[in-house]
Symmetry: C2
Subunit: 287 residues, 2 copies
Amino acid sequence: MSAPDSDLLSLNTATVRAQWKLPEIIAGCVRHNIRGIAPWRDQVAATGLNETAQRLGDAGLTVTGLCRGGMFPAIDREGRRSALDDNRRAVDEALALRARCLVLVVGGLPKDRSGSVVSKDLRGAREMVRDGIGELLQHAQSAGMPLAIEPLHPMYAADRACVNTLAQANALCDELAPNGKDGLGIAVDVYHVWWDPDLEAGIERAGAAERLFAYHICDWLVPTTDLLNDRGMMGDGVIDLPMIRRWMEAAGYRGMHEVEIFSAANWWKRDPDSVLATCKTRHEVCT
Amino acid sequence: MSAPDSDLLSLNTATVRAQWKLPEIIAGCVRHNIRGIAPWRDQVAATGLNETAQRLGDAGLTVTGLCRGGMFPAIDREGRRSALDDNRRAVDEALALRARCLVLVVGGLPKDRSGSVVSKDLRGAREMVRDGIGELLQHAQSAGMPLAIEPLHPMYAADRACVNTLAQANALCDELAPNGKDGLGIAVDVYHVWWDPDLEAGIERAGAAERLFAYHICDWLVPTTDLLNDRGMMGDGVIDLPMIRRWMEAAGYRGMHEVEIFSAANWWKRDPDSVLATCKTRHEVCT
């Protein structure tokens, strides 16, 4: 399989968030000729929404997604309404940044105000997610901002996202946006879905419905020493990245390849310029 | 839902393996009136197969499973043959111990002789698993020892088991033992499958084919701080254990409930008698 077009590389800003603030990351992308970026809302807030939009525009970067909306389940109606309000603000921020989509990490079991999980009702949480996306979609559609549901690895089902497979994400899209092209789609992150025996079928189904809104890459390390912050650089783990890219392309995906690496013990401790240079090389050689 | 019959509690010996050797664990079960046990092969080997069988028989314990066979994928034919030879020995040991089944943790991506993962071919690994179980099944059937495929959580797909859902396990059984009751079934461990949106359907399908050979319980902690050894005691996490037991019973399962807790930072550091007492109480109150 031929190497991917290097212009398709995008940088999720989490990858160097320990070393740089957002303006430095934007400048780093320009310096390394990385053409896309996906910032996190806390970084945007720290820099200011307008200044961020200005800097992104000046740099000519494609914003492959804003991270993130979601976290819909809550223990009471007030909590769910508060989450929805925050999600509407996230849609508006994504618009201001001209993001291609707002990425949704949908949330896990309902939490109380202190952030503790206080329910074992996974089915109920999944219904809250469906209802929350459905409500948010009305605002997002009228605003013209696509929503990308990101299935998360099953090890995050309790506390981060109870949508854990492409089959679930596809079913949500079928239910909430049955006509396709209506602003609800999927972010495929290899870290979360690489293990799924139905991955190829799920990508194919999403592609046929024009729902492939984003593609995130990194690698799964063996051993993995932390559930959250031990993701690998492409090529350092066991994911067959060229194969999954081939499936994405066969399904019609033509968007960018967003590198997103949470790595407390390794990449977050390195010189960020060398991290970006490594991302570029590995994108070309290993994906 | 009514409390489970306390006579159905079984102890997977991993739960107190840090504190006790196998003879002490057997004595502990007798002392706490725990009627079932599932030992690990290394513990059996340390005590001796014949002595273990004698002690288990004297104690009148039901052996709900022997842990474990599996680990079929290997990088070359010699490695796969060596794995198969070891699995045949495991079948024979299970027979000597009068175990209800040999539990299969099927293995992940192929490793070299040093134990390093050296392949990214997950599909190929799954084929090796299918072929390995198929070969082992001939020996197990003629010996009269049921094999129980245990789907493991997707976070173990790379290094421990590439069978990660009940759907996969059911499909393997359909393919390799299409007639049912032919000695190939499934061990349902809540820790590995609780997140699965298709769990109820998978249990129902397995039950209808009389494939529910074992039921393992513990809990999923939030947060989980270690991928391997941070399992929770029943009631300390987020798994709806009564619901899953109801599904198992509705599917026809009448076997024991095997507590299996890997817990380096907590339960392995406690007085093992208090651990067993807690298992008994929590089994009654929380499952």
